[in-house]
Symmetry: C2
């Protein structure tokens, strides 16, 4: 019988550390600032925004939300973004995606200043992620996975990690971040054959495939560590992850719940990235 | 007992196809051109250059070599590169690396025009590789691996592939390219525990770890396909790969030799990428 490990103690520890870092910057006359760019008012975006603002304010960051009209043209959007890029008071920029159809993410991703792009929208940060260049900003969610593993002293070097899913926001970056930690990583997806067997060889499982409770007990090796990055609704409309937590906790050593697991650390990573960007921009 | 599969038939087929493509472009008044930028005259570079020029000329490409002095300053190098970027007659640029110490690859990689960067030096192409965006140019060597697998009708979808090595020129891009083909990919490296066992589960092995003949028969599953990307010298000073070919061919179904395997397809990929770049630059 394993232990369900929450994100909260990780987030709390980070809050303490980041608050101290911001205080040290304040003492130098610097206040790190996050600007959120939101087009329209999608409920998902508003929910994440609320959590992000609350976390950032708690650690002492300045914040601003730039709400843009749903029908904004691409030229106007880019003009707004360039203003924020050029504003020396802003250190981190988060753009909610997906953007409405008239805005081309393929074009706009080249416009965001890479040094302020704290959630890996810019190709510059995607390339740094691939290269293992730690000066960049990998996406917040898989970074939270690594942060939790480190907090709970889970060894990664030489361990077998299996990542379920190959998205740009979870699967691929999680694979590369685990590789940076010297894990031996297998990346699985919808075309993987005999998925339960492949996953059952893992010391560390990262599930980000987007299917409610699809990871069952037979996927899990005795003593494995399971990180659930899924956010789904179950048949009763309740929030759940990609992992059948109740079934898998019987075999796992550590397992993150949904909600209250990886997701509750993501905004702390966001705040950490704003501070990192601020320091780099100030040559600190 | 398996079959040793050479790169030559793959390269020959590609030569035929590319020659026809160039002829079609010529008919439109377009001649694709490769410019090689070489600093100094390292024997390795000269050897590769000779092969690359010969292949490109064979399929009808225009070629040019810009040889720059070993002590060129970064500013002068960048000025030369910008001239080539801006030369509308040039469609593909290959810069030999590593560059001498006074030249920062970290700076220069942002200078090469991504649309002419046919061997994945630019972060834009690294990001496209990570995203699975096929408009980019992945590195030539791992692309040659995929080309050979396709030529010999090796199924990749749903197969277990194991990549040895995590370099930016072989291991990481090979992983992503195999993932694009819907293989389930495991990436191994110097810290991987029980390497022979991990590799022996693979249907497809790609060895790019840079250790002479380190892959032995006990690494190979009966019937596996083995792609040897290593280029090393054995104890007698002879060229050899990462795979002990003689021992492994007993168990593998197909195995590429060194020399005469993957390396002999790389320049064909280079030529293919020049043509692809030329077509894109001409909106064809």
């Amino acid at each position: 019988m394993g232990e369900i490990i929450k994100g909260k103690p990780v987030a709390d520890k980070m809050t303490d550390d980041l608050t101290a870092e911001v205080a040290a910057l304040n003492a130098k006359g610097i206040t790190p600032k996050l600007t959120i760019v939101r087009v329209g008012a999608r409920p998902d975006d508003l929910a994440y925004e609320k959590g992000a603002l609350s976390k950032c304010q708690k650690v002492g960051l300045a914040t601003e939300v730039k709400e843009l009209p749903l029908d904004i043209t691409q030229d106007d959007f880019i003009a707004e973004l360039r203003k924020i890029n050029n504003d020396s008071n802003v250190h981190g920029i988060l753009i909610f995606r997906p953007l409405p159809k008239q805005l081309s993410e393929e074009v706009i991703k080249y416009e965001i200043a890479p040094e302020k792009d704290i959630d890996c929208f810019s190709p510059v940060n995607a390339a740094k992620l691939l290269e293992g260049d730690k000066s960049g900003f990998p996406p917040c969610t898989p970074t939270a996975v690594i942060e939790i593993l480190k907090y709970y002293n889970v060894p990664m070097e030489g361990k077998k990690a299996v990542v379920l899913g190959r998205s740009m926001v979870v699967g691929k970056p999680a694979t590369l971040l685990l590789l940076n930690e010297n894990a031996t990583v297998t990346i699985c997806h919808s075309r993987t054959k005999d998925l339960p067997k492949v996953v059952s060889e893992a010391d560390i499982v990262v599930a980000g495939i987007g299917k409610a409770k699809m990871v069952k007990a037979d996927f899990i090796k005795e003593g494995a560590v399971v990180m659930d990055v899924g956010i789904n609704l179950d048949e009763n409309g309740n929030l759940c992850g990609d992992v059948d937590t109740e079934a898998c906790v019987e075999k796992a050593s550590l397992i993150t719940p949904v909600p209250g697991g990886v997701g509750s650390v993501t905004t702390s990573i966001l705040a950490k990235h704003v501070i990192k960007a601020c320091k780099a921009l100030n040559n600190l």
